[in-house]
């Protein structure tokens, strides 16, 4: 049984709209969704990285996914729209409250840097405009080897016909460079009516140049590998991670296959942790 995920639901301040988005996603069969907070820093004024609202404030009861018995899993994701390399600061503690990190590069140099060295999970391929740079095979393969995936979002194609052409053109040029590996399809939906079911997306992947197998993987197993990559990115060498031990942390617990240390040990003086072999 494959688990379908939609890792890009736009955050809106309206609670009712977000609630209906999550309910529609659960009804369509997505087991996991991620609410996307877009951060667009400019040189003019200093902007704070948005903090994610906790899930239990957004929606009281998570709806059950259609076809399964578990409720839908909601994660938080940050997308940094970068036009200069100083905008992405990986040491910023605000980044730590997000489960997934994504970058939307605007220039070729940034794209190359994001593929090869930045500590992120997802690279967003622009779909609302003509590609400002060509996607060369070398950085794309480097990113795929590292575990970073490329994301194509489709809701712009639903809203406007010019965007439709750009989406299909950019997606096809991405597929030429990456041969169908390491791609995820997601909506950047703002309304519940812009979401489409997982099998509809599998069919849409054929239009974007993916094969049958790659199109289905783009909605299911590649998304799962992104989540695992994000989890291991937040650990130290993939072995230890710290979590705040608070009483209502049970809703955000992920099954750790590593040792668990309690914070506020970060403030406490303690001997350097022994790294055990996993």
């Amino acid at each position: 049984m494959s688990v379908f995920m939609d890792l890009n639901l736009s955050f809106t301040a309206e609670r009712s709209r977000l609630r209906s988005l999550i309910e529609t996603a659960a009804h369509l069969g997505f087991s996991t969704v991620a609410i996307n907070y877009v951060h667009e820093p400019t040189t003019k004024k200093k902007q704070e990285v948005p903090t994610p609202t906790p899930i239990n404030e957004l929606i009281d009861q998570l709806p059950i996914v259609q076809g399964r018995s578990r409720p839908i899993r909601v994660l938080n994701r940050l997308t940094v729209v970068m036009s200069e390399s100083s905008y992405f600061r990986p040491a910023d503690p605000a980044y730590r409250s997000f489960d997934l990190l994504a970058i939307s590069p605007a220039t070729e140099k940034l794209f190359h840097a994001a593929c090869m060295s930045y500590d992120i999970d997802i690279i967003c391929v622009p779909v609302t405009e003509k590609l400002p740079f060509t996607l060369k095979r070398a950085p794309v393969n480097g990113a795929v080897d590292r575990g970073v995936v490329f994301e194509v979002s489709y809701s712009a194609a639903i809203r406007d016909s010019t965007m439709r052409r750009y989406t299909i053109a950019n997606a096809n040029s991405l597929m030429e460079s990456c041969k169908g590996k390491g791609v995820i399809l997601s909506s950047a939906a703002e309304k519940a009516l812009e979401l489409r079911g997982p099998y509809d997306l599998t069919n849409l992947g054929l239009l974007f140049g993916l094969s049958d197998k790659d199109a289905k993987e783009a909605v299911s197993s590649t998304c799962r590998s992104v989540l695992l990559h994000a989890e291991s990115r937040r650990t130290a060498n993939g072995i230890i991670y710290t979590t705040k031990s608070c009483s209502d942390s049970s809703c955000q617990q992920e099954a750790p296959d590593s040792e668990l240390c309690d914070a506020p040990a970060a403030k406490r003086l303690r001997p350097p942790p022994r790294v055990t072999d996993s």
Binding site: S161, K191, L193, E194, R196, L206
Partner: protein, 129 residues
């Protein structure tokens, strides 16, 4: 296309593989509109789908023949039949269709099958009492 395989000498059996045996694919779709009280007639529904095909695939796409076998005006649910070769085109144009007369809409594809009999049962709506 028939392929006959002989696996074992002692037990002789015949395996028949039929590829693309059914010339048509059947789809059960439901149109969800922003304003839930809007009603479309069968003709308007088919016209709407043809306009979607035309906007995505042009005149060649709009020439794709599909049939509206059953239409329920109250729930806006329809049973479509399309040639197997045209399934991807029709399905993707239904997916990317976003607005009907300036209101947002979405086509929810409920079932797709090469055999009409398979559309009678749906494990998603199965209710066990």
């Amino acid at each position: 296309m028939r392929r006959v395989d002989r696996k074992d000498e002692s037990t002789v059996y015949q395996r028949v593989v039929l590829k693309n045996a059914s010339p048509y694919h059947y789809m059960k779709v439901c149109l969800v509109l922003e304003d839930e009280s809007t009603r479309l007639s069968a003709v308007e529904f088919k016209c709407f789908i043809i306009s979607g095909l035309k906007s995505l695939f042009g005149e060649v796409g709009a020439a794709l023949t599909f049939d509206l076998l059953k239409y329920d005006e109250d729930t806006l649910t329809a049973l479509l039949r399309v040639c197997s070769r045209g399934l991807v085109k029709l399905w993707s144009s239904l997916t990317l269709l976003g607005s009907y007369q300036n209101q947002a809409c979405a086509f929810r594809v409920l079932q797709v099958s090469p055999y009409l009999l398979a559309l009678t049962g749906n494990s998603r709506e199965l209710q066990l009492y």
